[in-house]
């Protein structure tokens, strides 16, 4: 199941979890208000944007990898 080296960029997908779940206890007590909004909330909003960016990056890298894989038709790498 370990992805081949070409798919290592997939580990990026863990970043949103670290930001939006892992960081919850850390940001909860911060009292600083950005634009009047509670910090914990702004943190999550930023997390949402980060997640979209991460998925976009992974998507583009996946597409590039799979295009290259299809072009070099020697290794029949199973699509994961």
């Amino acid at each position: 199941m370990t992805p081949s080296p070409k798919y290592h960029h997939r580990w990026l997908l863990l970043a949103p979890f670290a930001w939006q779940i892992g960081a919850v206890p850390l940001v909860d007590d911060i009292d600083w208000r950005l634009f009047g909004l509670p910090f914990a909330m702004t943190w999550q909003l930023a997390g949402i944007v980060l997640t979209s960016i991460v998925i976009a990056i992974v998507f583009h890298l996946d597409e590039a990898t799979e295009a290259a894989g299809a072009a070099g038709a020697q290794n029949s790498e199973p699509e994961t």
């Binding site: 199941m1 997939r10 997908l13 949103p16 979890f17 939006q20 779940i21 892992g22 919850v24 206890p25 909860d28 007590d29 208000r33 634009f35 009047g36 909004l37 509670p38 910090f39 914990a40 909330m41 999550q44 909003l45 997390g47 949402i48 944007v49 997640t51 979209s52 991460v54 998925i55 976009a56 992974v58 998507f59 996946d62 597409e63 699509e79």
Partner: protein, 486 residues
């Protein structure tokens, strides 16, 4: 005025959806009806997906949660984005296998992958139960809206019953295709309504701007912006948010109707591309939360202290009739469209995966009929549940996720572990459901304080399933070994 607008919106959408579906092919088979013939391109798929996010759980539930508790409403901000991450990995796999084996329902997947029809019957029943609970949410919400628009003299029984009948009627218009059209209408209207509500919310409650609403609510209720929010006794702290978010993210695509939604996409690329934008839809929750806070600042007291009715009460008390009507009509669609998709899924699951294994010669038309009849029954059950319970929409939602979460290990193990087998997965499911029983709640509360029970049960499920799979494997291998030696 309110009634007229509400009725206009709902009937208009119904008519539009009906005409739209008539233009498409008539549904002849359950495949056509349930997964739209597998030909949805990115636009329709996008609408259906976005539509899934704007449900009554989202709008009324979250605003009510923000009003009652504050920071715990951030669950809305974590669930969609993290679900999208998991979906990016999981959904293409579900799609590929669905295409390869011509699968229609979630239970089909279990039958095909684990080569065990009996397991698919169990999974179908579990899925149907979870779906009924989810329908309960929609009926609860729709009932509240009906009582608002038609007057508070209507009893909960009548409004819930009427809500269910409307939903069933909505479903009988060619299935998934009309849901796609209606979802599009719903999303556009939802956008309009939210903009209208938020644009004037601040001035209506005496704040200077939308940001000022947040500032004021934090000044008036110190600590509301941080966990555990307004009510420390409610157990909605940091651990709750972390475990609930994880539970929703893992369980999201295991919900039968979303699982099957994967099958309707045209390609893996469609699914993946959709996952990129999905998190961004949830940014709009900031406005929903803001409305909940605005209601709090306006000292809104919904009838019976029912958090679910906060937004309705707030809107009807502070906005002109035409906006109230627009809101009520849109809120009806918010309940009707997802509700119909849920009933549709439950019906097709029943006909194909519970009934058919016992009646193999069931014709395609018979299957269609069975699914339509059974969904009426399920709607009735949901009404009965609605009348018995009175919890917040978010709580009901989380319990639906907990119930369906028992199917999650079976799905994930299918893609992650070649040695997963039917018996092991089943053992895990049983253990998981036992762990959900109220009897164990206090034990989990002691061992893992603050943890969302659904996630605990999922862990128990996997912890039992893995060794059970190994054991089942060993047990089935032995007789063969004996046979070769003798």
């Amino acid at each position: 005025m309110i009634q007229i607008l509400t009725l206009a919106i709902v009937l208009g959408t119904v008519a539009g959806a009906f005409l739209y579906s008539q233009r498409q092919a008539r549904a002849r088979t359950i495949t056509e009806w349930a997964v739209g013939g597998r030909r949805f391109g990115i636009l329709i798929f996008w609408f259906l997906n976005a539509g899934e996010i704007y449900t009554t759980f989202a709008v009324m539930g979250i605003s009510g949660f923000a009003w009652a508790y504050g920071a715990p409403a951030y669950l809305a901000l974590t669930s969609v984005s993290l679900s999208a991450v998991i979906g990016y990995w999981l959904m293409p796999r579900i799609w590929s296998e669905g295409h390869r084996h011509d699968l229609v329902t979630q239970a089909d997947f279990f039958a095909a992958h684990y080569r065990a029809t009996w397991l698919s019957v169990v999974v179908a029943i579990a899925g149907i139960l979870a779906l009924i609970v989810y329908v309960q949410i929609q009926i609860t919400a729709l009932g509240l809206i009906l009582r608002l628009t038609l007057g508070h003299d209507i009893s909960p029984t009548w409004s819930s019953g009427l809500a269910a009948m409307l939903m069933v009627a909505f479903v009988f218009l060619a299935g998934l295709r009309s849901a796609a059209f209606a979802a599009g209408v719903k999303d556009v209207l939802m956008l309009v309504v939210v903009v209208l509500l938020c644009a004037s919310a601040a001035s209506r409650i005496g704040a200077s701007s939308m940001l000022d609403i947040f500032a004021r609510v934090q000044d008036l209720h110190p600590g509301i912006g941080s966990l555990p929010g307004r009510d420390p006794q409610a157990g909605l702290g940091t651990v709750w948010l972390m475990t609930s978010s994880l539970n929703v993210a893992l369980g999201n695509w295991v919900l039968p109707h979303l699982f099957q939604l994967c099958y309707s996409a045209g390609s893996r690329k469609t699914i993946r591309r959709n996952a990129v934008l999905q998190p961004l839809y949830s940014l709009s929750y900031i406005f929903i939360i803001m409305l909940g806070f605005a209601a709090l600042l306006a000292d809104t007291r919904p009838p019976g202290g029912d958090g679910n009715a906060v937004l309705i009460s707030f809107v009807s008390q502070h906005y002109p009739a035409w906006i109230v009507g627009l809101f009520a009509g849109t809120a009806c669609l918010l309940a009707l469209v997802p509700g119909s998709v849920l009933l549709l899924t439950a019906g097709s699951l029943f006909a194909r995966n519970v009934l058919k294994p016992f009646v193999p010669h069931l014709s395609a038309r018979g299957e269609l009929l069975a699914s339509r009849l059974s969904l009426v029954v399920f709607a009735a059950v949901a009404v009965w549940l609605t009348l018995g319970a009175s919890r917040s929409l978010v709580e009901i939602g989380l319990s639906a996720y907990a119930a369906v979460g028992m199917l999650a290990p079976g799905v994930y193990l299918a893609f992650l572990w070649k040695r997963a087998n039917a018996l092991g997965v089943f053992a895990g499911m049983v253990a998981g459901y036992l762990a959900l029983l109220p009897a164990f709640a206090t034990m989990w509360g002691g061992l893992l304080p603050g943890w969302e029970t659904g996630l605990v049960a999922m862990i128990v499920n996997v912890a039992v399933a893995v060794p059970a799979c190994l054991l089942a494997e060993r047990l089935s291998a032995r007789p063969r070994a004996r046979a070769t030696t003798t």
